[in-house]
């Protein structure tokens, strides 16, 4: 019997404080059998903290042959709050991988636009890493990253290092700047005029708060991105990850198994695009 609900033990190997309320955990799976480590960019896993429950987190690391993976956790509720109190060598439960992947094949040979807001950079990180790993297979890469304040940006060093990649540009913006901030201010859309790709043939991938997604898509459509070429990673309340518990159900689809990554064309059909 393979009880999908029964998580496996994973040991915390490393904890990085990304911001005041975001930590990145490197987890090592004790028992390497099973599919958990066979994840692909865009997929998620269910993280268990017995006593607090379970919640979905998108893999923030690239699939590799090691028994490790990373997730970034923002402190929001009781489970994530408890996560933030954990220490290296503590054990948690993990199961997965679940959900669909970003359309890496479809993205090949095309120009790409990545738009992330705050912790929304976590799901995009593995796909961006994948792209740079096979740099020649993809066209120009534009990355737009927005956060509330400069201190709310995650993976800052790595994001900076992406500037060194060929034919790539990074654009940063914040809602509320501090003294050290020299970059742009405002929502991510303010940076769209700087993007040097052809919207009609490019693919855009977004992840961030619902409002950011809403306005970014609105502007992208104005730039003539195609509906079927805009992809967003959706967040929903979910308890099982395998299309049973019903929380993430929308119009016959389950965000956990049919998503969490949908094109805007699909989102429109589900009535979840605004």
């Amino acid at each position: 019997m393979r009880n999908e609900y029964l998580p496996k033990q994973a040991v915390i190997e490393k904890i990085v404080d990304e911001t005041a309320d975001v930590k990145t955990f490197t987890l090592r799976v004790k028992d390497k059998s099973g599919d958990l480590l066979k994840y692909k960019p865009g997929q998620f896993m269910m993280l268990s903290l017995p006593g607090y429950g379970e919640a979905p987190f998108t893999f923030a690391s690239s699939p590799a042959k090691s028994s490790r993976f990373q997730i970034s956790v923002k402190k929001i509720g009781s489970l994530t709050g408890a996560m933030h109190n954990l220490k290296v060598k503590d054990t948690v439960g993990a199961r997965g991988p679940y959900g669909n992947t970003f359309p890496l094949d479809k993205m090949k040979k095309r120009d790409l636009l990545f738009v992330a807001g705050g912790i929304g950079m976590a799901p995009l990180r593995p796909v961006i890493q994948q792209v740079f790993k096979n740099r020649k297979s993809y066209g120009r890469v534009e990355i737009v990253y927005g956060a509330r304040t400069p201190k709310d940006m995650i993976y800052t060093d790595e994001v900076k290092s992406w500037r060194d990649e060929a034919d790539t540009d990074i654009h940063l913006t914040v809602d509320v700047p501090d003294e050290s901030w020299g970059g742009a201010c405002g929502v991510v859309c303010v940076l769209f005029p700087k993007i040097k790709i052809n919207p009609q043939t490019s693919i855009a991938v977004l992840c961030g708060p619902p409002l950011m997604i809403k306005f970014a898509i609105f502007d992208m459509l104005k730039l003539r991105f195609k509906e079927e070429n805009i992809y967003a990673s959706l967040e929903r309340y979910m308890k099982c990850g395998i299309g049973k518990c019903g929380h993430c159900y929308v119009k016959g689809k389950y965000v956990c198994t049919d998503g969490p990554n949908f094109s805007y064309a699909e989102m429109k059909k589900l009535g979840i695009a605004s």
Partner: protein, 342 residues
């Protein structure tokens, strides 16, 4: 060749045989006054070989209980978990066709998709289903015939019994059912043409004026958002979030999980959850993709009457009327259907 047939006397013997073949014999029993509830009759007895009406709650409650441990937490601190497996074999006796159809839909959904729900699948695999076709409508509000779920089950059972005056005509629905008949040959005869005639008359009687619902049209009406907005407004105002509909509906399978810990040990429970609650879709941090109450209830109805028609080719309402008869807001899915296809 005519179908197998069993007399009432022989049925009692068959029940005895079946009881000895399983760990739990889940059969309808009369509880207080007129209440009928499925329970284990293997040791306690009290099963009703035949009965009018239907059980307050569908016997599915034994496959997906209102609360059920998913696994044991041996150490919360170390995330040491141990599976809990229900190894009991069960014979479900006297299950109504509407509940049988619900089990068919549950199988599609809970077992035969990309991931199987293991606890449910395990229990299903160890269960035998003996259906009892309806001779009378179980309540004035029931409309199984309109939903194509009764009074006789088309599939999903191992054996089905249809009452006639001499006894019961038997439908065999699976190899398991075949085996039961085969192993108890001495108890079965063949139905006579008179029995078959009688069975047909019962069926005709049941659906005197069948008002078949064009559920494709219904689904389309819903998909096109052409149900009168006032219908949803009214439903939203009537629903007082008792959660009775989602608890009693034999095709509602939504659940939530919670950990119950005492010291370092405990268990992860899953429990019945569903559309009516605002918290069902609200995310950590408080943002709600469906802020309006009426949309929560609409989702309940649209899932059953629109999306599932798309997915399974049949609505996942079986017309058992349990939700109607337990709704303190007097919401009726049947009335909604009528208003929608009007």
């Amino acid at each position: 060749m005519n179908r197998p047939f069993i007399t009432r006397e022989h049925l009692k013997v068959l029940i005895k045989v079946l009881k000895s073949s399983c760990d739990e014999f889940i059969a309808p029993r009369r509880e207080h006054l007129t209440d009928i509830v499925f329970g284990d009759a293997k040791t306690g007895g009290g099963e009703l070989p035949d009965y009018d009406g239907n059980s307050v709650i569908s016997p599915r409650a034994f496959l997906l209980p209102q609360t059920e441990p998913l696994f044991e937490i041996k150490s919360a601190r170390r995330s040491e978990l141990a599976p809990i497996e229900d190894k009991r074999t069960r014979v479900f006796y006297g299950v109504r066709p509407c509940d049988i159809k619900a089990l068919v839909l549950m199988r599609e959904f809970f077992i035969e998709r990309e991931f199987a729900d293991e606890p449910y699948k395990t229990k299903m695999g160890r269960s035998t289903f003996i259906a009892l076709a309806c001779s009378k409508r179980c309540s004035a509000k029931a409309f199984c015939d309109e939903m194509g779920a009764g009074p006789v089950a088309k599939s999903g059972f191992d054996l089905q019994m249809r009452a006639v005056s001499r006894g019961y005509i038997i439908d065999i629905g699976s190899e398991k059912g075949e085996k039961i008949v085969g192993e108890n040959k001495r108890l079965f005869k063949r139905a006579s043409p008179q029995d078959e005639k009688e069975a047909k008359a019962v069926l005709k009687d049941f659906t005197k004026e069948p008002e078949k619902i064009d559920y494709k049209k219904l689904a389309k009406t819903m998909a096109n958002d052409s149900v009168e907005p006032s219908v949803w407004d009214d439903i939203g105002q009537r629903c007082v979030i008792c959660s009775g509909c989602v608890t009693l509906c034999p095709t509602c399978g939504c659940f939530s999980v919670v950990d119950r810990i005492s010291g370092d040990r405990g268990e992860r429970l899953r429990y019945c959850d569903g559309c009516p609650y605002a918290g069902f879709t609200r995310m950590a941090g408080g943002s709600a993709p469906f802020p309006l109450h009426k949309d929560h209830i609409r989702r309940f109805f649209e899932h059953k009457l629109n999306h599932d028609v798309d997915r399974y080719g049949t609505p996942s309402c079986v017309g058992c009327a349990r939700c109607i008869e337990t709704c303190p807001g007097n919401i009726s899915i049947r009335k909604l259907i009528r208003e929608a296809v009007k």
